[in-house]
């Protein structure tokens, strides 16, 4: 049940362009252990900027 809720939560966040923070941290630990990891707030702001401020602003009619 909590797994289902988690999936729904992830899908809702992904619908507005926010990836899973846990996956990001895992990726950084696995591949770039030497680099600093963004906090949740930094991560959230980075995702907002990437979705709306960059070139992916187009939405469908």
């Amino acid at each position: 049940m909590s797994d289902l809720l988690n999936r729904i939560r992830q899908m809702a966040r992904m619908m507005v362009g926010v990836q899973d923070y846990g996956a990001y941290v895992q990726h950084m630990q696995a591949h770039h252990p030497d680099l600093p990891v963004m906090t949740t707030t930094q991560f959230f702001r980075e995702r907002q900027e990437a979705r709306y401020g960059g070139k992916n602003g187009g939405k469908c009619c």
Binding site: A12, M14, Y24, G54
Partner: protein, 682 residues
């Protein structure tokens, strides 16, 4: 063999439902037959056609690393669960288009639209989305413009980029026009939509400083705010002070929207755009789900005729005959070129395995077609008299209930003035006459369906304004996001001549590009708002033509890629829909240019008005010589725009043919995919 039996049963059910829809005459058909016909067709098409394309045409390889694996960075490139990614992709492609087009197309009856949506999505729309996703996924998630440049050359890429910018301008103008049509003279609707601005600012501040990243929490707060705005909107509208303060004419609203677009698109994204996007995305998904459930519970009979007398042309909602104009009126929902931009945007960077591509590329588009079917059902369960009262221009039916009732009854759809007045009263509006644009009609239908399930007739006005708010909210988000996207496209284009323009961080070029983009769509919006025939009449066909042309361009790219992969024996999969879209858009475009029917041809209309102006006559609906000149000028601009679109698509057709011929001469595949050995080595 036994595994095919369930699918055969689904196919039989679908065929039976479709024949009920197509063949019954006289007695009312239940809307569920359309839903069943659509859903079973989609399931069978997905099981057989999408998988055929995946296995034979694309030869998807689940073991081949996707960009999300190869370039994983935890941010843009992330291998994402396919159900989660389906939601992401569907939320990005679903917008106002599939809701509005089918409503407008209902003037020809529900049957032509139903057949085009089902056949169009299966053979063209979903194929396009799926192919573009595939092509981009094999090329590191590059965008449509870059893909065309890679596979068809620099010039072709630049032409496509220019075409995409013009299409963006028209889309923004049409979307803004729909909002104007929905909110004009409607203080209740205007108040609720205006209330979303401070609400979004509050949400922006909340996610910035108070509880960063808490999207669910802040969206719930926002939803409560929205519901309060709808509830109190009624008292605001009735108040002698506030009611008039929120009542605007279409021209005033046009300027408000232009100003809003200019300001909103230069504000920091977290302040207004992002929080409103949360609200509009979740509201959109929720409303679509609620509409589906509502239709199933209510099981309404269809009141619209299966086919009306307007299939031959001369309909009041939009001009032109079934061919080619139906096929450009229902653009999104059957096939939408705009999706090519989404399918080559974020989605290909997030896909975890090539095996997920069919459900996301093909499947999400089937879902969008289902939304279009629901919109068509919505328009068709209304009394046809109400439908034509709401969607005919004032120049045809006048502005009061008795003239409208007389005119619509004369069309063959009997209605009384009392019913018109009562319907307006039920939904809490001053008038429902000539509320073209699709959104108000759909809102009346949604109010009908929702109030049947929750709240009864007393809740109709609430649900009507809820539906208007939901449509206006995501259209405004699209206007804001689209202005930004248009600005980047324009900066790219200008940078072809002036390289320094590309710097998106410098203030000067950004402001100039934003200003030009807003001015461009603002011009067409103003033209549409002041158009005596209602604007939607003129602008929606131009939008449809341009959107379908972009789809043709995307499918031509797909054809070129298949030739370059040496898969040309399968290229009919993309060539058939390309040919159909070219036939529809080129003939619609040519008719808009050279038709001698003044209702269809822009130039014929301009010629008629300028001949009259030379004589010193003023033709209705113009009221002065200045308005006459305005109409002539607008006609010529529209004609020029259509001519540009025709030129763009013909140029790309030539590039495609050249690419395909060269690919056939080559001995080896020439497609520029990221090669498998390199993939494996990295």
């Amino acid at each position: 063999m036994t595994r095919h039996i369930p699918w055969m049963l689904i196919a039989i059910v679908g065929a039976a439902a479709l024949s009920v829809v197509a063949l019954s005459r006289g007695e009312a058909v239940n809307a569920l037959w359309i839903v069943v016909a659509a859903v079973s067709s989609f399931l069978v098409a997905y099981r057989y056609y999408a998988l055929y394309i995946a296995r034979s045409v694309m030869r998807l390889d689940a073991s081949r690393p996707t960009p999300a694996i190869r370039r994983a960075d935890g941010l843009d490139y992330v291998a994402t669960d396919r159900v989660v990614l389906f939601g992401h992709h569907f939320a990005a492609i679903a917008g106002a288009g599939p809701l509005v087009g089918p409503v407008l197309a209902a003037q020809m009856g529900y049957l032509p639209g139903t057949i085009w949506i089902i056949a169009g999505v299966v053979l063209a729309g979903a194929v396009q989305d799926f192919m573009v996703l595939f092509i981009s996924m094999r090329r590191d998630g590059k965008s449509l413009g870059e893909l065309i440049r890679m596979e068809m050359g620099q010039v072709a890429g630049a032409i496509a980029l220019f075409g995409a910018f013009m299409i963006m301008v028209i889309i923004l103008a049409v979307l803004a026009l729909i909002v104007v049509k929905a909110l004009a003279e409607s203080p209740w609707g205007m108040f609720t939509v205006a209330a979303t601005v401070p609400l979004a600012l509050f949400m922006g501040a909340y996610t910035r400083w108070i509880r960063p990243g808490r999207i669910g929490e802040v969206s719930l707060l926002g939803l409560v705010g929205l519901l309060l705005a709808i509830i109190y909107g009624q008292s605001v509208a009735l108040s002698p002070v506030w009611g008039p303060a929120f009542t605007f004419t279409p021209v005033q609203l046009c300027w408000i929207l232009i100003g809003y677009g200019a300001v909103a698109s230069v504000l920091p994204v977290w302040l207004l755009l992002a929080p409103r996007d949360y609200l509009s995305t979740f509201l959109k998904i929720g409303a679509i789900a609620a509409l589906a459930i509502g239709i199933v519970i209510m099981a309404p009979p269809l009141k619209m005729h299966a086919v009306t007398q307007f299939v031959g042309g001369n309909g009041p909602v939009w001009s032109g005959g079934l061919f080619p104009f139906l096929f450009i009126t229902i653009a999104c929902g059957a096939v939408s070129g705009f999706h090519a931009l989404i399918a080559s945007g974020t989605t290909p960077k997030l896909i975890a395995s090539e095996a997920d591509a069919p459900i996301i590329g093909y499947g999400a588009m089937l879902m969008e077609a289902f939304v279009a079917i629901m919109a068509l059902v919505g328009a068709s369960i209304l009394d046809p008299g109400i439908y034509f009262t709401m969607n005919s221009p004032a120049a045809v039916i006048g502005t009061d209930a008795s003239s409208a009732a007389a005119a619509v009854t004369a069309m063959g759809f009997p209605i009384t003035p009392d019913l018109i007045a009562q319907t307006a009263k039920d939904v809490g509006e001053h008038t429902i006459i000539s509320r073209a644009g699709g959104a108000p009609t759909l809102a009346v239908a949604m109010a009908e369906i929702f109030s049947h399930v929750v709240g009864g007739p007393a809740m109709k006005a609430f649900w009507y304004h809820f539906a208007i708010l939901f449509e206006a909210l995501f259209i405004l988000t699209a206007v804001d996001a689209g202005t930004r996207a248009g600005r980047f496209m324009l900066q790219d284009l200008i940078a072809l001549a002036v390289p320094s323009f590309k710097d998106t961080q410098t203030i000067g070029p950004s402001l100039i590009a934003t200003g030009l983009t807003v001015a461009a769509w603002g011009f067409f919006l103003y033209q549409g708002v002041t158009d005596p025939l209602g604007g939607v009449n003129t602008l929606w066909p131009v939008f449809g033509i341009s959107n379908q042309m972009l789809a043709a361009i995307a499918l031509m790219l797909a054809t070129a890629v298949l030739f370059r992969m040496k898969q040309d024996r399968y290229a009919w999969v993309t060539m058939i829909p390309t040919a159909w879209l070219l036939i529809c858009t080129l003939s619609a475009g040519l008719l808009k240019l050279i038709s001698t029917d003044v209702k269809v041809g822009f130039l014929a209309h301009a010629a008629k008005f300028s001949a009259a102006a030379d004589q010193g006559d003023i033709l209705a609906p113009a009221k002065s010589m200045a308005e006459m000149r305005q109409i002539i000028f607008n006609d010529r601009i529209d004609a020029g725009l259509v001519a540009i679109f025709l030129a763009v698509v013909l140029a790309l057709l030539l590039f495609t043919i050249r690419t395909c011929v060269a690919a056939r001469r080559a001995e080896r595949p020439t497609a520029r995919e990221i090669p498998t050995p390199l993939v494996a080595a990295e």
